[in-house]
Symmetry: C2
């Protein structure tokens, strides 16, 4: 018996590629996205009283992690990437049914003509993510602060000092203040969560990394407890 | 674009019918179930290190609530059943994609020959529920105790005094002590959550209700703050 589902919405995210996305939602409060509801679900009645909730569950498809084959074990980044745990003991996107689950902040809801959009914060969702369901977060059943965990008891914590090159500063200074402040905070939070693959996290060769955020290409170098944004380029195909 | 998923497991639940199932998981700690993993997923490697977690997310199909049509609003029992809210502002099983989400307690894991079973507690799952995914509960991202809620801020709380008729007592006394103690606690917890439809909750006519738990038919009457189990019958088709 199979079950077939059609998306009810699509995420427009600051994360345009997988590299840089935090490993869980909530770790990067500044990570914002728009969840555009698809017809025929883009009707205000279907969301009546949702604005009373601060957080939502998003059930989605890991659309960039769909594979023909499944593997019974995965190597979680939290274990340095070289120890295997069961796929069902992980939140890996590579799973028999590539269904994702994220709790996100509901900032606001906007509605114009037939466009119905939920504005979300703290997301860990790739741009273009198909959403299957939205549910309100109910702390009385969903919040279990003293649940025991296995190998990932604490969020990864880093403190880094971030600097911007003269070129990066010049790009940020051209932007409206609220936009550049947002980008600075977003970049700071992403680097504090160290998106580098585990096998490179001890690397001290000042290798350059890059990722796309919105329509900017961001490049940086990381030292032990500091990082420098070496370059910001606006992509022109937007 | 549609997405098709095959179940990875099936729930064998104490709840054999929808009536009596709590409206959220965790409200009835005594509600137990076995999640039987289906081939080819019934491999111990796929669950390696899962036993370190106390709680799991179960993503499942509301298989008894699948409808051809969807309605943009539902009438939540918490609002007395006569006020409509948006389907996406509810956890109703009647939703565009009938996908359910429950956090449950992981009691133990058992494995014999090709049978691989997770023993769960605090479930709100109907017998036969197809499970699409299992994920570990991570309190650092999943637990948000101070999330704001809309119309359902608190769990429904009732205190009832429960008595058993002589007939019900005689059936319970025939069972092994641990089994009868479990059944008593389970019934007490279910009735404390008042499974009656909202329009009958103010009913004082001592109408009789019934539900199937395991292979027992349980019948009871409810007064204002007390309930009596009038009859327990073992079903013979098992």
């Amino acid at each position: 018996m199979s079950y077939t589902f059609d998306p009810i919405g699509i995420v427009h995210s600051c994360f345009k590629e997988k590299f840089g996305i935090p490993r869980q939602p909530g770790l990067i409060p500044e990570a914002e996205g728009r969840l555009e509801i698809l017809p025929p679900y883009n009707r205000p009645e279907a969301f009546r009283q949702l604005d009373g909730y601060s957080h939502l569950w998003i059930t989605f498809v890991f659309h960039a992690a769909i594979r023909e084959q499944w593997s019974p074990t995965v190597r979680p980044p939290r274990l340095g990437g070289n120890q295997r745990v069961g796929v069902f003991a992980s939140r890996s996107p590579f799973r028999p049914n590539p269904i994702g689950l994220s709790v996100v902040k509901l900032h606001s809801i906007s509605c114009s003509q037939d466009q119905f959009v939920l504005h979300l914060g703290g997301i860990d969702l790739l741009d273009g993510t198909p959403v299957l369901d939205i549910k309100p977060y109910l702390p009385y059943s969903d919040a279990i602060p003293d649940a025991h965990t296995g190998y990932a008891p604490e969020p990864p914590a880093h403190h880094i000092t971030l600097t911007f090159s003269a070129q990066a500063e010049s790009i940020l200074k051209e932007l409206p203040r609220s936009r550049s402040d947002h980008l600075r905070r977003l970049i700071q939070q992403i680097l504090a969560n160290d998106p580098r693959p585990a096998y490179l996290q001890a690397d001290t060769s000042l290798r350059e990394f890059g990722m796309q955020l919105y329509d900017y290409n961001i490049r940086w170098q990381v030292g032990e407890d500091r990082a420098c944004i070496t370059r910001i380029e606006q992509l022109t195909d937007h």
